[in-house]
């Protein structure tokens, strides 16, 4: 990277400013029924060693056969990252010994990955966008799982995950802060979920990040990096970048040197520590797996997959801005999840799109967040919310009553039209009834009337009283007009 450091991203050390440089390797579990090279189930959990075929257990003479769906998912993802799709790629063996690596090697792609260079457009904030380069995406096998806390003397090995298909997505070191790192992973996750190529479930380990962090003085060449392995939440990614950068700055400012090493982020202690097991110098002895031939396909194969791709978040966002006139920020929020965007469009179609966006973002998302629910489990359907928006637009209910109505639909369900009818929530636009209420309140509060004449902001108090008396059903505009008239303000 030769671009100049952005001053706003620099952090202060004792001896001056520092720039953080981050690159990431994301391991994304491919959405598929069976594993990359075996027909074992990929489903999460399961009794130990129950999702294991003879191939996964690396029995003598067992051979890998690739799952076509995983190949397609990698290509789809590559297309989603606007990346170069390599029509010929090669599977290599990465050789090392570890008890949860039954073959003694991981089948991965080293020299010739299936996907080459691409990019991710990342919204860091409402006003800032960056582009993070993707160096490559390759297919590889996941390892099994070792449990170290079951016995004082032994580790327990479960091969259920062994052989599950992963996409390793390697970014360029284009990230300059913890915030950017979080935003990058968030965006990448959004893209993967849109494509349906990875469920992005970080708690279950479907998405893990190896975070490479280094620091340098602005304008200087890249510093020595440390790799923080397997960070499994977006929040932790941000924390890990910050604490690791601070650690490195402190060492350098003390006259020390950074050792290139693999570290682990401990969220409890808020620190990174060196990984003992990875300390030893590795020599992976990569070479093409002789059990597999080169993976080859033509452009027509890629084109067919491209045809089946959904509209991706960046395109959707642009369309929401153009088609619905939404502010870019709102559009960005709505497209974060494909389900949210679909929901919004179902509400907005043929209606006041800005009002629809407001209701979806402020009322619905707010409520879903509070209750720990998602769009998929929302008690209020897009059709119901659309009807509420219709009732507001038609002047049938006031904005205030609409919120009550939303609450009723949320907790009890039902057709908003019927609820409004049955519970008499319709807005009163009959000026006679409103006038009666206005007159009564003016008559009962002579002092307030005097005050209001001197200080017109008192009007709000009168509006409130009228609304109270009419059970909130009075048309606020009519109330305002009448009050102003009668109070002479």
């Amino acid at each position: 990277m030769t671009t100049a450091a952005k001053p706003s991203k620099l952090i202060k050390g004792a001896t001056g400013d520092w720039e953080i440089v981050v690159g990431m390797e994301i391991h994304a579990q491919i959405t598929s029924h069976s594993k990359l090279f075996s027909s074992a189930s990929t489903s999460f959990g399961g009794d130990p060693n129950s999702h294991v075929t003879l191939v996964d257990a690396a029995m003598p003479g067992m051979l890998p056969v690739i799952n076509e769906e995983c190949v397609k998912q990698a290509i789809r993802t590559g297309l989603g990252l606007k990346a170069k799709i390599n029509h010929r790629s090669v599977f290599d063996r990465k050789n090392y010994f570890y008890p949860d690596l039954p073959q003694g090697y991981q089948i991965s792609q080293f020299k010739d990955p299936i996907v080459g260079e691409g990019e991710v457009i990342v919204d860091v904030s409402a006003s800032e966008q960056i582009i993070v380069g993707v160096e490559r995406l390759h297919l590889e096998q996941d390892a099994g799982k070792s449990l170290h806390d079951q016995s004082p003397t032994e580790s327990f090995v479960d091969l259920n995950r062994s052989g599950v298909a992963l996409m390793e997505i390697v970014s360029r070191p284009d990230i300059r802060s913890a915030e950017e790192a979080r935003a990058y992973v968030t965006k990448l996750r959004t893209i993967l979920r849109y494509l349906g190529t990875c469920d992005g479930n970080m708690e279950e380990g479907s998405l893990r990040a190896d975070v490479n962090v280094s620091v340098r003085r602005p304008g200087e060449p890249l510093g020595t990096r440390c790799e923080i392995k397997n960070v499994n939440s977006i929040r932790f990614i941000g924390q890990a970048v910050d604490v690791e950068a601070r650690r490195q700055i402190a060492i350098i400012e003390d006259g020390g040197k950074i050792d290139q090493e693999t570290r682990l982020f401990d969220p409890g202690k808020g620190e990174t520590r060196s990984m003992r097991s990875k300390e030893e110098a590795h020599d992976y002895r990569y070479f093409p797996d002789p059990d597999l031939l080169p993976l080859e396909f033509d452009q027509a194969y890629v084109d067919e997959l491209a045809k089946g791709l959904p509209e991706l978040p960046d395109d959707k966002r642009a369309r929401f801005i153009a088609e619905y006139g939404l502010p870019p920020y709102d559009a960005g929020v709505l497209v974060m999840e494909r389900e949210s965007a679909d929901y919004f469009e179902a509400v907005a179609r043929g209606r006041d799109a800005k009002m629809a966006a407001n209701w979806v973002i402020n009322e619905l998302f707010g409520r879903l967040n509070k209750e720990g629910k998602t769009i998929a489990t929302s008690p209020v359907s897009a059709q119901q919310l659309g009807t509420i928006v219709d009732l507001i637009s038609a002047g049938t209910i006031s904005g205030k009553l609409a919120k009550d109505l939303f609450e009723i639909v949320w907790s009890e369900g039902g057709d908003p039209n019927v609820i409004v009818e049955e519970r008499g929530m319709k807005q009163v636009t009959d000026t006679g009834a409103i006038e009666k209420a206005v007159d009564e309140i003016i008559a009962a509060n002579p002092e307030k009337v005097e005050q209001a004449k001197a200080k017109p902001t008192m009007l709000g108090w009168f509006v409130g009283q009228v609304m109270k008396q009419t059970g909130g059903k009075a048309n606020p505009e009519a109330v305002n007009t009448l009050l102003k008239q009668k109070l002479g303000i």
Binding site: S32, H33, S34, S38, S39, A40, S41, D47, P48, N49, S50, H51, V52, T53, L54, A57, V65, I66, N67, E68, E69, C70, V71, V90, F97, Y98, P99, S146, L147, H148, Q150, S151, P152, T153, E154, S155, F156, V157, D158, L159, L264, M275, R276, S277, D283, R285, P288, L292, L293, P294, L295, E296
Partner: protein
């Protein structure tokens, strides 16, 4: 090219094969005999030649994404020198 004794030890460790001190000189000799035997290859002109990746010209066959063939945890762990509750057990690994 030939290997020294430190290399013999490094290679043995990479391959996870214990070697006793007294074996090292002998191993070194054997490995060097093989290396000198293959040395003649350095004289072959290989410029512009693609390394072979598959001896039979065919492309990688693709499998359908279907689940089948779970061996069962009993069968998977039956031959294991160490197993408990369907887990394989190994000397404790320190991370």
């Amino acid at each position: 090219m030939s290997v020294d004794q430190a290399t013999v030890r490094r290679i043995a460790h990479l391959a996870r094969i214990a070697v006793r001190d007294e074996e090292v000189p002998h191993l070194q000799e054997e490995l060097n005999a093989i290396l000198s035997f293959v040395e003649e290859l350095s004289a072959v002109d290989v410029s512009g030649v693609e390394p072979m990746t598959s001896v039979i010209p065919m492309s990688l066959p693709l499998r359908k994404d279907e689940v089948s063939g779970h061996a069962g945890a009993d069968v998977v762990t039956r031959n294991a020198p160490g197993a408990e509750d369907h887990f394989f057990t190994v000397p404790k690994v320190v991370e």
